[in-house]
């Protein structure tokens, strides 16, 4: 079952990913990206047994980040992409680069034995509990740094988007 699902999901991801690149309509491209994310999430859940990760992936990336992308594309009414003619040189260069990266990854994966996922090892996974425990014990420090990072990002957004009046020289 797992291999079948894996192929279904990866096929979905590849088709959606290619459609992100080939779509001239930015809204369609953004939606394709959301579909790619959903398939990736399904792969986490059904092939690795990481249900929590699957659900968070959908909620954060498909449910929030991509919606904001879509929101901005619609607000700015991005249409330039549709009228622009395709540049063959870019297409050729891009494909060559993609091919190169793919060969690299294939070579790497053939040469090395990767670490087994917990689900393969036959360990029952409650990944929400595992992730939570690790975040609050072993990886407490990076977790807290992340909170500072988010604070800074929020301040930055306010600072850069605020239209403040010029203060009289005080």
């Amino acid at each position: 079952m797992e291999p079948i699902l894996f192929w279904i999901f990866s096929l979905g991801m590849i088709v959606a990913g290619v459609s992100v690149i080939l779509n001239r309509n930015p809204v369609a491209a953004a939606l394709s990206l959301a579909v790619t994310i959903v398939f990736l999430a399904l792969m986490f859940g059904f092939c690795l047994g990481a249900w929590f990760l699957m659900v968070i992936q959908v909620a954060v990336y498909a449910g929030a980040v991509m919606v904001l992308f879509l929101f901005i594309i619609m607000l700015l009414d991005v249409k330039e992409e549709e009228t622009r003619t395709r540049s063959w040189s870019y297409a050729v260069m891009g494909s060559a680069l993609a091919l190169f990266m793919m060969c690299m990854v294939v070579l790497v994966l053939r040469a090395t034995e990767p670490v087994k996922a917990a689900a393969d090892a036959g360990v029952p996974v409650d990944d929400a509990q595992q992730i939570g425990t690790l975040l609050f014990t072993k990886y407490l420090l990076p977790f807290e740094i992340t909170s500072v990072l988010l604070l800074v990002a929020a301040i930055g957004v306010v600072l850069l988007s605020l239209t403040h009046k010029r203060e009289s020289s005080s």
């Binding site: 790497v108 990767p114 072993k138 420090l141 990076p142 740094i145 990072l149 800074v152 850069l160």
Partner: protein, 491 residues
């Protein structure tokens, strides 16, 4: 003093100042002063904290006996302490420069300096201090992102001017690309090693065999990410435009703080996470990068008319010199990077810190607006303000590496390491580049002393800044004459 104290002090102070400022209890200028006080406290705390060797978690592991001991996230060794002091000093001087530029008259399109402009560097300093202590890719990555994201904000601060906007967008997009490379590289390494801790990775891969292909690829991708931070060729494309468009204090911060942050994580990863066998992977790559940076940085700097662009290209060249010192690995059964190399990197960065920050402090005062950043504005600076001219001359001569000044010691160290580790080709390129460097540094010095000024109005410098400039000039000469200082610093 407890470990992690400087980072906690800086973050807590930043949050308190943000709240105070938000509710109008405190003016922007006093926020700047309090930030300086906080930096000073953090420096004192860092100086009085004993060096401990073991990496640590901030959580007591009940299974410590079962093998998780020694694979902590955060280490406080001599290197960490030196770089923490370095970053704190940089941040302090940058905040000083910001206060100096706040005192300058604002142009029609310049944003006034707000309190956040003093507070955000505190977050950067906290992130950089964490980077100096990172012993795990998790901490390394989130701290590096803390630094980078804060810089995105600071670079785009003057968002109403087109050059600042260009700088912000360029830094954001290329920074995002570099982060993507870094995180994918970390994913490769961690995925195959099964751990993110440096100790765990080196335990797995410090064997006489070559690195597995995947790990080698991961390491190269990580180097791309770091190459962006240290602005080395071919990852330097952002540097000239961003240095030019960012507010001058932030340019100084990027050119000293961000570059040093890139180098500390670079040497950390190469030294702690990978052993001498990895040299076969990164050695040739870094040699090529160093050579290109030396040539391109120094020769492109010759043709610049804008002093910030010139310093950007010269910064690319300096990355090349420092990389020459990094290239001291590959000794069988030795450390990832030889002690001599580590010391040379630290000394070079310390001299670069003094010289570069002095130069940018003068630029902040002399060039408050983008129009005054051309090198022609420095014609006859000696007649307008002898102190500023002397300081800039001292720092530029030091950057060029002429003997009585500090920069000479740094360059000497890098050249010695190159000879010691038989990088003769690189040594030759570096020698030519150093001579090319003389040309454009001394060009500015000549303009300051022997050209007619465009305008003759003298430049006023506040008393505290006069004192600071005098101290900096003294340090530039004193450390050049007495190299023992560096031995003490790096101890």
């Amino acid at each position: 003093m407890p470990y992690l104290a400087p980072e906690i002090i800086l973050t807590a102070l930043a949050i308190v100042l943000l709240l105070l400022e938000a509710y109008g209890a405190i003016s922007a200028r006093s926020v700047g002063i309090w930030s300086l006080v906080g930096i000073a406290v953090a420096i004192v705390v860092t100086l009085f904290t004993e060096v401990g060797a073991e990496p640590m978690y901030f959580w007591t592991d009940p299974n410590a006996a079962e093998g998780t001991a020694g694979k902590g996230l955060y280490m406080w060794d001599a290197t960490a302490r030196f770089y923490k002091l370095f970053f704190l000093g940089t941040t302090g001087l940058v905040i000083w420069m910001s206060m100096e530029s706040a005192a300058q008259p604002v142009g029609p399109k310049t944003q006034p300096i707000r309190a956040e402009f003093y507070i955000l560097p505190l977050f950067v300093a906290a992130g950089m201090c964490l980077l100096a202590s990172a012993a795990d890719f998790m901490v390394l990555f989130v701290s590096l992102e803390l630094v980078t994201i804060t810089f995105y904000i600071l670079v785009a601060y003057q968002r109403e001017s087109a050059t600042a906007l260009e700088a912000g967008v360029k830094y954001l997009i290329l920074g995002g690309l570099a982060t993507a490379f870094l995180v994918m590289g970390i994913a490769y390494v961690a995925g195959f090693a099964g751990t993110t801790s440096f100790a765990g990775i080196i335990a797995k891969y410090n064997t006489p065999d070559h690195l597995p292909v995947a790990v080698a690829l991961g390491l190269l991708m990580i180097l791309v990410g770091f190459g962006f931070k240290i602005a080395s060729v071919p990852f330097h494309l952002w540097a000239p435009d961003v240095y030019q468009g960012a507010p001058t204090p932030i340019t100084a911060f990027l050119s000293v703080g961000s570059k040093a942050a890139g180098f500390i994580v670079l040497v950390r990863v190469l030294n702690e996470a990978f052993g001498p066998t990895a040299y076969a992977t990164w050695g040739p790559a870094l040699t090529a990068i160093a050579g290109c940076s030396l040539v391109l940085g120094n020769f492109a700097a010759m043709h610049q008319r804008n002093i910030k662009r010139m310093l950007a290209y010269s910064g690319v060249g300096h990355s090349g010199f420092i990389l020459m010192a990094v290239l001291s690995g590959g000794v069988p059964d030795g450390p990832g990077i030889a002690q001599a190399g580590m010391t040379a990197v630290a000394v070079y960065l310390a001299t670069y810190f003094l010289a570069s920050l002095t130069a940018f402090l003068v630029i902040t005062i002399v060039s408050p607006t983008p129009e005054e950043e051309s090198i022609r504005s420095y014609n006859g600076l000696w007649q307008r303000s002898p102190l500023l001219a002397a300081a800039l001359a001292a720092s530029l001569i030091s950057l060029a590496g002429i003997p009585p000044f500090a920069g000479f010691v740094g360059k000497l160290g890098a050249f010695v390491v190159a000879l010691q580790f038989h990088h003769y080709g690189l040594f030759f390129i570096a020698a030519i580049s150093a001579v090319a460097g003389l040309y454009y540094y001394l060009g500015v010095v000549k303009a300051m002393f022997w050209s007619e000024p465009l305008e003759v109005t003298p430049i006023q410098v506040s008393v505290p800044t006069q004192v600071l400039l005098t101290i900096l000039i003294f340090l530039l000469i004193a450390t050049g004459l007495c190299m023992e200082v560096f031995a003490w610093l790096v101890r």
